[in-house]
């Protein structure tokens, strides 16, 4: 049995600025087929603010998460920053910058990443490990600022990225218990999507897919197979059946991606995800935290109910989180 780990508090920071997808930068440089794909993603607009960096988005969310938890930065036993897509400077340390900004002087501090929108999972795995290994450590702060690496926010044929920060305080108890985490990766796809940046100005950076047929076919079918196997393993090792899962929350890429996941697993993705996709686009590792918060705010999950949070990345990585609402005191009639 995994040691007790819970989301003590989750906070988000969305910039006020709204950018309609029809006004995305670089849209006029796309071919007709690409523009049509972009228009059919199910994204109406994204929140964006070019004056806010990924670091600042993460920092704003981190401060809100601490306030939400009623804790001081000095209460954090660890601070984990999920790396941004493109660091502001090379050599420097964004995570110790965040440590200094927050005043989390006692915190064991490091960053994780490398898995695209699945990168929340290694952060949670690390947090769970720290809480299990060190009885003196009570709280771990995880933060990420999501901002696309290129001026063009459209990644053909996948999604449109918005700006947003998210942070979570992970503790041994809290209103959302993390019951289990599963993750797999396949390094064959490590550079399927990439941005060449050396020796070219920023306005010529592009998110490029090196092998579109591989993405559309091989990785798609592998994703189906991986998600099916991971989902079954998650249920089996928690002695649960599909009927015991009350809500499925996905990362937000496109309507097609939701349908793909629904058909792959025989599940229904919560309408919350569709709504957030429409107004925020894709926010990388923050998507599932955003969707969970919205679902809870809407009253879609009650004490004792369980949700599965699904993420996948063309890196390629897949992960599922099993969470239960409440402190575990609610009775179950299994």
């Amino acid at each position: 049995m995994a040691p007790a780990t819970a989301l003590n508090a989750v906070a988000l920071h969305q910039p006020d600025g709204v950018l309609p997808v029809a006004e995305l930068p670089g849209l006029d440089q796309l071919g007709e087929a690409e523009r049509e794909t972009c228009a059919q993603l199910g994204i109406d607009e994204v929140h964006a603010d070019d004056s806010l960096s990924a670091f600042e988005l993460a920092a704003q969310a981190a401060q809100r998460a601490l306030a939400e938890a009623g804790l001081a930065a000095d209460d954090m036993g660890a601070l984990i920053l999920i790396d941004s897509r493109a660091p502001e400077t090379l050599m420097s340390s964004a995570v110790t910058r965040l440590q200094a900004l927050l005043g989390a002087q006692r915190a064991v501090t490091f960053s994780v990443g490398g898995l695209g929108c699945v990168s929340l999972t290694p952060a949670l795995l690390a947090a769970r490990g720290l809480l299990a290994a060190d009885p003196d450590l009570e709280h771990v702060l995880v933060a990420h600022g999501s901002k696309p690496p290129t001026p063009q926010r459209y990644r053909h044929p996948v999604t449109v990225s918005g700006d947003g920060g998210a942070a979570a305080v992970i503790s041994r108890s809290g209103p959302v218990r993390i019951l289990d985490i599963v993750q797999e990766t396949n390094g064959d796809y490590w550079d399927l999507f990439h941005v060449d940046y050396r020796d070219r100005p920023t306005d010529r950076w592009r998110e490029e897919c090196g092998d579109l047929p591989a993405y559309s076919f091989k990785l798609a079918v592998e994703t189906r197979n991986r998600l099916r196997a991971l989902y079954q393993r998650l249920l089996d090792r928690n002695r649960l059946g599909p009927q015991d899962i009350d809500c499925h929350l996905s990362h937000n890429l496109s309507l097609g991606a939701f349908r793909f996941t629904e058909e792959s697993l025989g599940i229904k993705i919560s309408t919350t995800c569709f709504d957030n996709l429409r107004q925020y686009g894709h926010l990388g590792p923050n998507d599932v935290l955003l969707n969970l918060c919205t679902e809870l705010e809407r009253g879609g999950l009650e004490d004792g109910q369980r949700a599965v949070l699904l993420s996948s990345s063309p890196a390629a990585a897949w992960s599922l989180l099993l969470v239960e609402i409440g402190d575990g005191a609610a009775p179950h009639y299994l």
Partner: protein, 86 residues
Amino acid sequence: MPTAPATTTVEDVLAFLAAALGTEVGPDDDYFATGLADSLFALELVTFVEHRFQLTVEAEDLALDNFRTAAHIMAFAQARGGAAAS
């Protein structure tokens, strides 16, 4: 070596492809090369092949060459000894 079932012909595969892609294709047309295929189509295609030929497409089968044309699909199914769908 077992052969693809007599009840599943290349015409059956072409009929599926026409419905899924929204346009007619020939037995040797590479719909991946022409950009007609997306990940949802890939899912439908593999599900069709698995159901129609009663086989499971494993990770080692996922070479695009096995699926890029109707003729290739028939050859793949024959090689895997796919059975007739009822």
